[in-house]
């Protein structure tokens, strides 16, 4: 009978509530499901295939011998006129895929058929201020909820069966430049999110909410001088100023609009029980306005998931003057060193260096370039701090004759980074990291700027250029123990999608030209490619259903490259937009 004829009387409502409560106990996503996600191949319930974000699957049916037979089984279109960058990683649970599209849309799809089960479109105000395309990177699952962040900086929890809103919380003021694009993560029953908006002088923060009710648990600002808060029995209690006090690494009042946006979300390692969130550039870009290290911008922060306190930090680019956000994912992994297990974590930074840290305390173990050229630093010192090339910092506008434009310099990598948002993968079989990277340079100069709410807060001008005629993108296999590159795959257009490693000795990734590609994890030989019809800037996943291994990836060209790409735009302007999710398997 229809919903109107049966009505929504009290008895029916109570019955439905009772059913969904019992359903939650049986079928909903639990903390344990999330912690075990990497080894439970029947589902994908976390961003990064496990809270550590290794993007490694133990599945082997699709392997270097069989992958050439991989066939598309269905493709699902996001539809509408909103075909912009699709940077989502799908999730799969109990036969349903949950995937996000551009403009804060969520789709639930039957994974057997590709049929849509429901769709949720957030109604966005016109005044949203995403700096770098209207993308979304995916959902979090918990209990019977599908949780995601919107471009107007709201966290929304949807009923996994109906797509209806269960709770909604405002994380930031979109009119001040806040937005949400990263996939939230769930740790110990809390949904944890960062914020975007570093180009608008927001103050970065990490926040935890009760995943079931949406009640805020704690907030931790990522700029020195701002007070953190924790909620105890519903009361907001001061929880310590980030960095102890204001004014240590920032001059004057600039910390009040200091940026350090946590726009890429985070990872979690249950072994050391710490969240790892990266922070973006300090605001504004013009570094001469803010002498000092500008903590905690361009850093990795280890945060206690229960209290929101910062356990340690590691800053990759102190006093950043090149927009080298330090947001890149920090992936926990172990390796043996002389018989001893090292609890490490690795990250490949926008600034061109890859870092291996002790994940218990943040100590620097080693660092090395993962791109061919780095102009702004001679190397890293013993503590991992860059040894700057002073003349490669964009000049101070105050030193120019009219005070309007500082000396322009050419710096490598460009502000879009040796590696941008696209997550790398770690294979437990080869012990290698597979790093999607780009080789490009920029001309950059500083200009005077002052903060105005809701306006771009850069104080810089820039253009971007490629280093090589035949490629910009490079997928690299990097050995975290030696810093050596084991193999590389070169791509004409810049790479902008995530990577997936599997025990089938394969590495999957997509490119802007539209191909989903699979490489031999040991030697980089390309074993498979399939054109999905639009550029791939999302992250592939794999899972198992009815004894068969499936691979899915979102297709739809966009992201920051076509918006900011300068000279590079010539290489990508012919690429057409799209918006779909493709699913593959081997023929029976």
């Amino acid at each position: 009978m229809s919903k109107f004829a049966t009505g929504k009387g009290f008895a029916v409502t109570a019955l439905v509530a009772a059913m969904s409560l019992s359903g939650m106990a049986n079928a909903g996503v639990t903390d344990k499901d999330i912690l075990n996600d990497q080894m439970t191949t029947g589902d994908v319930v976390s961003n990064g295939l496990g809270p550590r974000g290794q993007r490694y699957s133990p599945l082997t049916a699709v392997n270097t011998d069989t992958v050439q037979d991989l066939k598309a089984v269905w493709s699902f279109s996001f539809g509408g006129e909103k075909q912009r960058g699709q940077e989502s990683q799908p999730m799969v649970k109990d036969g349903v895929m949950y995937v996000t599209g551009s403009y804060s849309r969520v789709f639930a799809v039957d994974v057997k058929t590709g049929d849509e089960l429901w769709q949720y479109d957030a109604r966005l105000p016109d005044g949203i201020m995403p700096c770098c395309d209207v993308i979304n990177r995916g959902v979090a699952l918990y209990g019977d909820l599908v949780i995601f962040g919107t471009l107007d900086a709201k966290l929304v929890a949807l009923d996994k069966t109906t797509g209806k809103v269960k709770w909604k919380k405002k994380v930031g003021d979109y009119k001040a430049g806040y937005s949400l694009t990263a996939a939230p993560i769930v740790v110990k029953g809390k949904v944890i999110t960062g914020v975007s908006g570093g180009e608008f002088g927001i103050v970065g923060k990490v926040e935890a909410y009760d995943a079931k009710t949406g009640k805020i648990a704690w907030t931790r600002p990522t700029v020195e001088g701002h007070m953190g808060y924790i909620w105890k029995d519903g009361k907001k209690v001061e929880n310590g100023i980030s960095g102890g006090k204001a004014g240590q690494t920032w001059p004057g009042d600039l910390w009040k609009t200091g940026g350090a946006a946590t726009w890429l979300g985070g990872t979690y390692d249950p072994e050391v029980d710490l969240l790892f969130f990266g922070t973006g550039n300090p605001a504004p870009w013009n570094s001469h306005l803010r002498p000092g290290d500008n903590l905690f911008s361009s850093s990795r922060l280890a945060i206690d998931p229960d209290t929101g306190k910062i356990a340690w930090h590691f800053q990759t680019t102190p006093n950043d003057g090149w927009d080298f956000d330090g947001v890149n994912e920090l992936i926990s992994f172990d390796y043996k060193d002389g018989g001893k297990t090292v609890k490490a974590a690795a990250t490949a930074d926008r600034n061109g260096f890859m870092y291996v840290l002790n994940r218990e305390n943040g100590d620097f173990i080693r660092g090395f370039p993962f791109v061919d050229e780095i102009s702004w630093a001679k190397g890293l010192d013993k503590k991992g701090r860059p040894i700057y090339v002073d003349e490669n910092r964009p000049g101070n506008p105050a030193d120019s004759k009219d005070g309007k434009k500082g000396k322009a310099i050419r710096a490598v990598p460009s502000f879009l980074g040796g590696k941008n948002w696209m997550p790398m993968a770690f294979s437990q079989d080869t012990g290698l990291f597979y790093v999607p990277s780009n080789e490009w340079a920029m001309d950059i100069w500083n200009e005077p700027v002052s903060y105005k709410k809701g306006a771009a807060y850069l104080g810089a001008g820039f253009t971007i250029s490629s280093l090589n005629d035949d490629y910009i993108g490079v997928l690299r296999a990097m050995d975290p123990k030696t810093g050596k590159e084991v193999w590389r795959y070169k791509n004409y257009a810049p790479l902008w999608g995530g990577v997936l490693a599997t025990a089938g000795n394969l590495v999957f990734m997509g490119n802007p030209e539209g191909y989903l590609m699979a490489f031999d994890a040991k030697n980089g030989e390309m074993k498979y490619k399939f054109n999905t019809g639009s550029g791939i800037v999302g992250s592939p996943i794999t899972w198992e259903m009815d004894g068969e291994q499936y691979v899915s990836v979102v297709s739809g060209w966009g992201g920051a490259v076509p918006l900011w790409g300068g000279e590079v735009a010539k290489r990508v302007k012919h690429l057409n937009q799209g918006g779909s999710v493709w699913t593959f398997k081997l023929p029976k």
């Binding site: 009978m1 109107f4 004829a5 849309r105 479109d121 957030a122 109604r123 016109d126 929304v156 909604k168």
Partner: protein, 257 residues
């Protein structure tokens, strides 16, 4: 199904049901508005429950819908006061037929006025489900030039709503035997039928007393006009009331009246 339940639970009602509605099952009455959509919509909104066409359910519409995005409609079921389970209203020829479902408390005069969008000339109906399990269906023909549901909301061209979403203006009028609450809330009420503008509308409306219990519960659908203007009549009471609203994006608004 409902009839069966009544038979088993309250045998004393059997007689009254049989007496008052002897002919529904055998011979369905003819739609007085001769709508091609009657049977289709009846299935959706009334299902297989017995019904009668009943003039005591009054649906007031203007002679002509001058602005198809803002058509005033009054539904008056006061003839059934105290005997109502719920009221459902719909427009036969709208792309989204359902307008509202209304659950009145016995202390409320079951009258509601609001404005709706219409896509073309259409019957506008209200069906009242009384406690004996019978639908009483009233309706009226509304003449319109149409297009109201697929026109972008006015708010869409002007970002005013973004900073005023959910702001509510209200007034209380003292009538002879009731208090009339009239309110207007800023909301685009997008139907989802306009390209690139997702469905975005107030879904739940409750008029609550100080203890938080609802005197009126309404479920709205996107054909309710942009910046809804809704009027309720409440039997005279000393207690204060407040309005609670929630839209399909999960935004909640509250306003003391």
């Amino acid at each position: 199904m409902k009839i069966k339940t009544i038979f088993t639970l309250c045998p004393s009602l059997i007689l009254s049901v049989l007496l008052s509605v002897p002919s529904y099952a055998s011979e369905p009455a003819e739609d007085p508005l001769s709508s091609v959509m009657w049977d289709y919509n009846r299935q959706i909104f009334l299902g297989d429950t017995p019904y009668v066409f009943d003039d005591r359910v009054r649906v007031g519409v203007p002679d002509f819908a001058e602005d198809p995005t803002q058509v005033p409609v009054d539904v008056d079921a006061s003839a059934f006061a105290g005997d109502i389970q719920r009221i459902v209203a719909w427009a036969d020829l709208n792309p989204i037929q359902h307008i509202f479902t209304y659950y009145p408390h016995p202390d409320v005069v079951p009258k509601v006025s609001l404005r709706i969008k219409v896509q073309q000339s259409t019957p506008v109906r209200a069906a009242v489900l009384t406690k004996d399990g019978v639908w009483h269906v009233g309706g009226n023909l509304l003449a319109a030039s149409g297009g109201g549901c697929t026109t972008p909301s006015v708010g869409n061209a002007d970002p005013y709503w973004e900073s005023h979403l959910g702001e509510t203006k209200s007034r209380v009028f003292q009538l002879a035997d009731a208090s009339r609450y009239k309110f207007r809330v800023i909301h685009p009420m997008d139907t989802g039928l306009v390209g690139s503008i997702p469905e975005f509308f107030i879904q739940q409306v409750e008029l609550r007393d100080t203890r938080g219990s609802a005197l009126v519960r309404m479920e709205l659908s996107p054909p309710v006009s942009e910046n809804p203007v809704i009027t309720f009549d409440v039997a005279k009471q000393d207690t204060k009331h407040h309005l609670w609203l929630r839209d399909n994006n999960g935004n909640e608004f509250e306003k003391a009246l």
